[in-house]
């Protein structure tokens, strides 16, 4: 079956995570994403994310560059640069996540590349946005800084612990999603207008968009959300510890409807007296009620409580990653999938989107530096002799 973005070619000059994740999302849908590195300066993300797994692969780089082909080009070498600009003529999107100023210094701005191909879409995923004082200052950024300045850190934690970041590269991942969304909007629009345009996104903007109505609410009420004490959460929304140490998340809106029955099911009918929405304004009541329900939860295992409470009440286990790996629901929807690896298969995170007629897929892990240099250039019309001469001239880097 054809894939949704089949025939779309992306030159991907991105490193680490925000940029690489965005182009990988388009590769998942069938785009031909060509990752550009030089033998001298490979993506530093190749060495990131901790030690290699027992299978010898570093998951960080392998996942963020899945489904891509790799070409080696030294863009500071005149032959390498000219090769790049010729490839631009064959491409739909040029995508990068360089710090502001870097593409200018390389003389690879939108004005330069659209000269060669007016249909090109020029996507930049920066740290702080392409405008404003910090764009002019060429200020760099990384995930943790965007979480901090973007306000996410300030609301994450408890009164006792103080704020802490969400300990995964959340800003990078969300920034990547937003950048993929922007690129696709420009692709679609180009079908109508026939011309490309510049698309700018950033870690910072994506963090603000992630919290859009929370930040809007703070601006309207002139009030910041505050960290709660660890025992102060309202009892109808939050986690409880079960007899086996497993955590169960309880999440229900409109508790006035189901709270009484819920407390009865937990053997604590006294907690169900009165009207929930009135009781919950009393912090002491919340602390006390949460403690009482905690005693009930501690009498049975997580799985026992799941079978008693679900689906009448909306509860779910708090799962660790390896438990997700065993969830049939995640496999049934392709959120987890397997790809061929050597003689066997490797489990891997799949796609969050299921398209009925043009399904996406994870087809391969990240390429080696320059793994597809010859293949890509031969396809684009260069001869073996020309490629040898380019190599001699240092177009691919010396390594």
């Amino acid at each position: 079956m054809a894939m949704a973005l089949e025939g779309v070619r992306i030159l991907d000059l991105s490193v680490f995570q925000q940029g690489t994740h965005a182009s990988a999302m388009l590769a998942d849908l069938g785009a031909d994403v060509i990752k550009i590195e030089s033998y001298d300066t490979p993506d530093p993300g190749r060495a990131s994310g901790g030690d290699p797994a027992p299978n010898g692969i570093r998951p960080y780089f392998a996942i963020l560059n899945r489904n891509k082909r790799g070409i080696a080009l030294d863009l500071k070498n005149p032959v390498g640069r000219e090769t790049f600009l010729k490839l631009i003529e064959t491409a739909d999107i040029f995508h990068s996540n360089m710090r502001m100023g870097v593409l200018e210094r390389m003389n690879l701005t939108y004005d330069v590349v659209k000269e060669r191909n007016p249909r090109i879409i020029f996507s930049q995923a920066t740290g702080w946005g392409h405008l404003g004082p910090d764009a002019e200052a060429h200020l760099g950024s990384v995930d943790g800084l965007a979480q901090a300045r973007g306000g996410l850190l300030s609301i994450n934690g408890t009164k006792e612990s103080g704020p802490h970041n969400v300990p995964l590269s959340l800003a990078d991942q969300v920034g990547g999603m937003i950048s993929a969304f922007g690129m696709m909007a420009a692709l679609w629009e180009r079908e109508k207008s026939g011309v490309g345009q510049e698309v700018n996104t950033s870690l910072y903007g994506s963090q603000i968009a992630l919290q859009n109505f929370n930040i809007t609410g703070a601006m309207w009420n002139q009030k910041n959300p505050e960290l709660r004490g660890k025992d102060e959460a309202r009892p109808h929304w939050g986690t409880y510890v079960c007899a086996d140490g497993g955590l169960l998340m309880v999440a229900g809106t409109t508790p006035d409807r189901w709270w009484k029955e819920f407390c009865e099911a937990l053997g604590a009918p006294e907690c169900g007296e009165g009207t929930y929405s009135k009781n919950q304004v009393d912090t002491a009541w919340c602390v006390q009620t949460r403690a009482r329900l905690g005693q009930s939860f501690a009498t049975k295992t997580r799985d026992e409580w799941m079978s008693i409470l679900s689906p009448t009440f909306l509860v779910q286990p708090v799962r660790k990653y390896l438990e997700i790996a065993e969830d049939p629901q995640a496999w049934a929807n392709g959120y987890l999938t397997k790809i061929a690896w050597g003689e066997g298969e490797l489990p891997i995170v799949g796609l969050p989107v299921h398209m009925s007629r043009t399904p996406g897929s994870v087809r391969s892990l990240a390429p080696e530096v320059g793994q597809h240099t010859e293949e890509v250039l031969l396809e684009a019309g260069w001869s073996w002799e020309e490629i040898a001469a380019m190599r001699e001239a240092g177009a691919f880097g010396r390594g």
């Binding site: 949704a4 973005l5 797994a53 027992p54 998951p59 996942i63 405008l131 950024s141 943790g144 800084l145 300045r149 306000g151 300030s154 609301i155 934690g157 612990s161 704020p163 802490h164 970041n165 300990p167 991942q173 999603m177 993929a180 969304f181 420009a186 679609w188 629009e189 510049e198 603000i208 968009a209 859009n212 109505f213 930040i215 609410g217 601006m219 309207w220 009420n221 002139q222 660890k230 955590l247 998340m249 999440a251 779910q316 286990p317 708090v318 990653y321 997700i324 629901q329 995640a330 049934a332 929807n333 959120y335 489990p347 969050p352 989107v353 299921h354 398209m355 009925s356 007629r357 043009t358």
Partner: protein, 399 residues
């Protein structure tokens, strides 16, 4: 200037957050998003506060339709003939009971794209069980809660509806992919996304890493890594973030006035937990001696730092305004209100927030008249209860 999705019509039968946010992202790009609400209750999200409902339904028009009423359903089907996308986030099974499935709609309009943004995915045991979900449950089952923990802070959900927001982004991405593909094939398709799948995709690297290594991530403490973390200053927290500390750490120690901490190689010292803790305390003491702004001025951009900002501080950041991450939008009372702008900047077809949420059924007549209904038909459908009895009564009073 035209938006990228000018001329695209989205029928938006969504409630609360994941669904409304996905459609609002398309409205930001210029799509004509028509929010369909049941005449009696409206979107249940209306009660979650002004900022919540207004922001998640920005840029949309509103129509009230009783889909359980035969006349209401007929109006919906005729509108579906004029639409490019039908987007909903109803629990699996509800669309079937309403008789508004993809086969039904595509039989009338083969170009239509149907996007279901569910809780747990449209396949698998929990789709068959028609199990519902909410943000907190998807964060729990999707593993995010299990990693949002430090040695000081217990496991907790990220206290913004992160799963809903990310799920909305993923469904917007899916809808755009289907739109683009339709330009090639001329046909629509069914697109499915979910809270659960979006959470797994958000943590794609971490979950794959766990599956390959057989190990879950281990929580770290505030003092586990002196080069990366939150420090209190004289007037608020600051985030220090260090990519390759062996390079910058010695100079940092010199400037901060504890040169002895630069002895040895950082990456080797960092393996020693006691060294990290001791060093954290030394760094922490120095950070307390000046304000955040003073530290930023002294250390940035040479070292990677950002203030940990609360929402009202974000609201004052000129960088956020310069990039349109914060904008002002005209409210119904004619005043300009600050809010969050689109995270994507497109040079030729700019994104924008054009209005806040419509009132329930605000544009019913306008939409129907421009969709080919005659005035007499609108009167007839109203009399047959297509828009609910409440609306019929109000219209009669108005006439």
């Amino acid at each position: 200037m035209a938006g990228a999705l000018d001329g695209i019509r989205v029928l938006d039968l969504t409630v609360y957050q994941q669904g409304p946010h996905g459609a609002a992202m398309l409205a930001d790009l210029g799509a004509d998003v028509i929010k369909i609400e049941p005449p009696d209750t409206g979107d249940l999200g209306r009660v979650n506060g002004d900022a919540y409902f207004n922001y998640l339904n920005r840029g949309k028009r509103g129509i009230a339709l009783d889909l359980k009423n035969e006349a209401g359903k007929e109006v919906f089907l005729r509108l579906a003939d004029t639409a490019d996308i039908f987007h909903n986030n109803l629990r699996p099974g509800v669309i079937d009971r309403l008789g508004l499935t993809y086969p039904v709609l595509s039989a009338r309009n083969p170009r239509i794209i149907v996007n279901n943004a569910t809780g747990w995915g449209h396949l698998g045991p929990d789709a068959e069980a028609q199990l519902g979900s909410f943000d907190g449950l998807a964060q729990a089952r999707g593993g995010l809660q299990s990693v949002n923990v430090t040695l000081e802070a217990p496991q907790h959900g990220v206290p913004v509806p992160l799963a809903d927001q990310v799920g909305g982004m993923i469904s917007a991405y899916g809808m755009l992919a289907a739109l683009y593909e339709r330009e090639k094939s001329g046909m629509g398709q069914e697109v499915n996304s979910s809270l659960f799948g979006s959470q797994i995709s958000l943590q794609g690297f971490g979950i794959t890493n766990a599956m390959w290594t057989g190990k879950n991530p281990v929580p770290r403490g505030k003092k586990s890594s002196p080069r990366t973390g939150v420090y209190d200053t004289a007037d608020g927290p600051i985030q220090l973030q260090g990519g390759a500390p062996d390079r910058w750490w010695p100079e940092f120690c010199q400037i901060m006035g504890f040169p002895d901490r630069a002895e040895g190689v950082y990456s080797k010292n960092a393996l020693d937990a006691a060294w990290c803790e001791e060093t954290y305390d030394i760094v922490a003491k120095v950070f307390l001696t000046a304000t955040r702004d003073e530290w930023m001025a002294r250390l940035s951009p040479k070292f990677h730092l950002a203030p940990v900002r609360n929402y009202l501080e974000v609201a004052k950041d000129p960088q956020a305004w310069a990039n349109g991450y914060l904008v002002e939008v005209k409210a119904k009372d004619g005043t300009m209100k600050p809010t969050v702008g689109p995270p994507v900047h497109m040079s030729r077809t700019p994104t924008s927030v054009r209005s806040f949420a419509p009132d329930k059924g605000e544009h019913t007549d306008e939409i129907l008249l421009e969709s080919g209904f005659s005035e007499a038909e609108v009167v007839d459908f109203r009399a047959r209860g297509a828009f609910g009895t409440e609306v019929a009564g109000a219209a009669a009073a108005g006439a």
